[in-house]
């Protein structure tokens, strides 16, 4: 019973991490149609940026965090403007856009490896405590992951519902052609969602940096999980992305009750397979 509780806690915490990744990736994908593979390495880059600010530049953690989010936002916007926009102007087919994104993926991933090396970077300065729930343990970091999801999810929902730009994002997601017709600057909105999506990605990046440390390979698994969560939850739905991420986290961890740890990542594939077989539109699509 306690094992189950522990697994559930881990599931919600991990699920929150996946959900945050899914929100950023899903927002970009739903609005612009771009499968932003480089999202993974850029997420990794923000972790490295924060680490570098503390370890090499000696900044206090909070300042480094802010710098990390800012850097991530700027890089995300540039990735769209300098890389994707020229192809969009050419009306390149979707698979060209994906290959270009893969190109950026591999450049950034290896760039990180060259600049920072492949050893795991940790932030010893930042420590956190743990709390007990019965015999199960919940760390403050896990609490932070859940809180981050709640705050960011709520903020994004309010932004989309209430602000003009938010409405423009929803309009573009719903009917891109009509969005252009009513005069929405689709380029500006695309830059906006790349900015927001990248900024959001910086948060789970920093939390993982604190928890496990940063490695160049962390980008691939991040974008992979985000992509799966978005598909499972239903393309084009922020709510779906969150629920998809949470579901993946829960299934992965609860699955460990019976399945050996090494097979964790395979669980994602199995869930995906089932979803595609039974409900290809995703589990939580619609409103």
């Amino acid at each position: 019973m306690d094992l189950l509780l522990q697994l559930a806690i881990n599931g919600i915490a991990n699920g929150s991490h996946y959900a945050l990744l899914a929100i950023g990736f899903g927002l970009i994908f739903a609005t612009t149609g771009i499968v932003h593979f480089a999202y993974g390495p850029l997420y990794a880059l923000s972790a490295y940026f924060v680490w570098m600010s503390v370890a090499w530049l000696g900044l206090p953690f909070v300042a480094a965090l802010v710098a990390g989010v800012a850097a991530s936002t700027v890089v995300g916007m540039l990735a769209y403007l300098w890389l994707h926009r020229p192809f969009e102007r050419n009306q390149s087919p979707a698979f060209v856009v994906m290959i270009v994104s893969l190109g950026l993926f591999i450049v950034v991933e290896n760039g990180i490896g060259i600049v920072f090396g492949t050893d795991t970077k940790v932030l010893e300065e930042v420590t956190y405590g743990i709390h007990f729930v019965g015999d199960a343990v919940i760390s403050e970091l896990q609490i932070a992951q859940v809180v981050a999801l709640v705050l960011i999810g709520a903020a994004l929902a309010l932004f989309l519902k209430l602000t003009n730009y938010g409405k423009a994002v929803r309009a573009m997601t719903d009917n891109p052609d009509m969005a252009a017709v009513i005069g929405i600057d689709t380029v500006r909105i695309s830059v906006l969602v790349f900015a927001i999506g990248s900024a959001i990605a910086a948060i789970p990046a920093v939390l993982v940096l604190i928890k496990d440390g940063a490695t160049p390979a962390m980008g691939f698994s991040a974008v992979f999980v985000a992509f799966v969560a978005v598909i499972v939850g239903g393309l084009g739905s922020i709510r779906g992305a969150i629920l998809g991420g949470l579901l993946l986290g829960m299934v992965e961890n609860l699955g460990m009750w019976k399945i050996p740890t090494e097979w964790q990542s395979s669980i994602a594939f199995v869930v995906l397979f089932l979803v595609l077989l039974l409900r290809p539109n995703g589990l939580f699509k619609g409103q």
Binding site: A168, A171, A180, I182, D185
Partner: protein, 239 residues
């Protein structure tokens, strides 16, 4: 700017196409201030492509588009909206997942001077009471006719001086078509809005047109008074 002489919208030798194909080939068009210009033609003639080329959704490959004498060829739709040109695309140009009210609000999205928007909303609700009734309803669940009214309402939200309409009657019952045509005429007469309208329902659209143009396989084959086309035998010649 508003009472200058000369046409409000001009297309000069406009050619528009996709990839290798030139769909619209050297078409000249003139929309006079306050008039309703009707564009007719067979399916696949290039009428929609022509409208989208004028509005800037597709970059023309040759020719010019002039608005009040200024060259607006191929410029972004956002700028056209801000200059007072609206476009109502074919097939219910609405945002299906958003509510009726959100759709209407988006119609005025590109407008910076927001003072008139509440008045415009009142006008839209007055012309199409059904939209007021269903303001909170998700737009995708409206019937075809209601969605078309919503699309028209969206165009009105920024009180444009020119409205380009692409087959507003498509898929509608005859009485609804009559209502839509009547609404278009009312907009034209009440606000002096110049209307550029593509239609295929000849019997309902011809009566409200001031002038008619027929497009056949990408070229203009007729440009003149609608009366001459009322004879079906004459009309068939151009299709």
């Amino acid at each position: 700017m508003s009472d200058e002489p000369g046409p409000i919208l001009v297309a000069e030798a406009l050619s528009v196409g996709y990839g290798k194909k030139t769909v619209v080939d050297g078409v000249d068009l003139r929309l006079d201030r306050g008039e309703v210009l009707l564009i007719l033609g067979h399916n696949g003639a290039g009428k929609t492509t022509l409208m989208r080329g004028i509005f800037g959704l597709i970059k023309p490959r040759a020719g010019r588009v002039l608005h009040d004498g200024a060259d607006i060829t191929g410029r972004r739709p956002a700028e056209n909206v801000m200059a007072g040109i609206a476009f109502v695309p074919q097939g219910h140009g609405i945002f299906p997942s958003l509510s009726v009210r959100e759709n209407l609000d988006l119609g005025a999205f590109a407008v910076h001077d927001t003072a008139h928007i509440p008045d415009n909303l009142k006008i839209v609700f007055e012309m199409f009471p059904i939209l007021a009734e269903r303001a909170g309803q998700v737009a995708g669940t409206l019937s075809g006719g209601q969605q078309q009214m919503l699309a028209l309402g969206m165009a009105l939200m920024h009180r444009p001086r020119v409205i380009i309409l692409d087959e507003p009657s498509i898929g509608l019952a005859p009485n609804l078509v009559a209502t839509v045509m009547q609404s278009v005429k009312t907009i034209n007469q009440r606000f002096g809005t110049s209307i550029l309208m593509v239609e295929q329902s000849v019997s309902y659209s011809l009566p409200i047109a001031d002038r008619t143009v027929v497009i056949k396989t990408g070229r203009k084959v007729y440009d003149g008074p609608p009366a001459a086309l009322e004879d079906r035998v004459e009309l068939i010649k151009y299709f």
